[in-house]
């Protein structure tokens, strides 16, 4: 008996991760994802743990390589869309991505911005990034798209003298600040410690 849920988390990756972990505690594990869909089947309560990983900056090949690597590590990996995109026609431009990933097309990287990684619970914490340097790097990848949005909204707000766009700029400032503070924190730690 599978259970279907429809949820919108947008950029709140931690909220999504927490929700999935709560579902697992209640005895449901993920079997399929769709645009807003999460389909679960029953499992033992707390049998699995979840991490939500942002990979939109990766090119198609690198995203696939990473996906396969995680599966080889024994994890179950689901692609998920982030439901947050700015688009021109059918092509999405991601100037913050690495080479090969800057133009997101439907077939390649669009709607595959996240990986939901599932691990059988062995009682240990489940973290994908463990060294300070790597965490700093990961949070930069999370910050950059928001930083670009912030700049764009700001420019358009000034040009159009629009309050709404100004408000949008302020809203995108929040994740920039949150991720930036994580970056600074990890950078500070990395000065004396590796992990």
């Amino acid at each position: 008996m599978s259970k279907k849920y429809y949820r919108f988390f947008g950029g709140l990756l931690t909220a999504q991760e927490n929700w999935l972990n709560k579902m697992s505690e209640k005895g449901y594990r993920l079997i399929r994802t769709g645009k807003l869909l999460y389909e679960f089947e029953e499992c033992k309560p707390g049998q699995v743990k979840y991490c939500v990983e942002f990979i939109a900056q990766k090119s198609k090949n690198n995203a696939k390589d990473y996906h396969d690597f995680l599966e080889e590590m024994g994890y179950s990996v689901f692609y998920k869309n982030i439901n947050l995109n700015y688009s021109v026609g059918r092509v999405r431009w991601r100037p913050w991505a690495e080479k090969g990933g800057r133009i997101a097309t439907n077939a390649a990287t669009f709607n595959r911005e996240l990986l939901i990684v599932e691990k059988e619970n062995d009682g240990k914490p489940f973290e994908l990034h463990t060294s300070y340097e790597d965490k700093e790097n990961y949070y930069s990848n999370l910050r950059d798209p928001w930083f670009l949005l912030l700049l764009m909204f700001e420019v358009f707000a000034v040009v159009n003298r629009s309050v709404i766009l100004g408000a949008a700029a302020l809203i995108s400032l929040i994740p920039v600040i949150v991720y930036q503070s994580q970056i600074m924190k990890n950078r500070r730690e990395a000065r004396t410690k590796e992990w």
Binding site: E53, M73, Y75, K124, H129, S131, D134, N137, E194
Partner: protein
């Protein structure tokens, strides 16, 4: 004279990955090796391991081996990687001897 004056220190993660690959391993086995050898003190996240394996491969210190058709990708250490590991060992010997002299004898356990 020492010939390890140049080259700098490795991170612990880098050094352990190099050590683990003296015999070929895939990612999961590298992770297990490190956890086992450090008694669980150093537990590597898969994302961090992935990044480290890619950087070490770019450096030419490790390379994929075995038939590439096999499902799991295995790596092993290169000659250059071994040289790096030897230098690091010499550096650590020096560090331990200086530290022992100052902090006190080597009381392991």
């Amino acid at each position: 004279m020492r010939d390890n004056v140049k080259g700098g220190a490795l991170t612990e993660v880098t050094f352990y990955i190099l050590l683990s690959l003296y015999t070929p391993k895939h990612g999961y086995a590298v992770m297990q090796f490190i956890e086992e050898k450090t008694g669980g003190r150093l537990s590597l996240g898969a994302g961090t391991l992935y990044g480290a394996l890619n950087s070490l491969q770019e450096k030419g210190w490790i390379e994929p081996c075995g038939d590439s058709e096999g499902r799991k990708k295995e790596y092993h250490i290169t000659a250059q990687g071994k040289e790096t590991a030897e230098k690091e060992l010499a550096r650590l010997h020096e560090l331990v001897s200086v530290a022992s002299g100052i902090v006190g004898g080597t009381h392991y356990e």
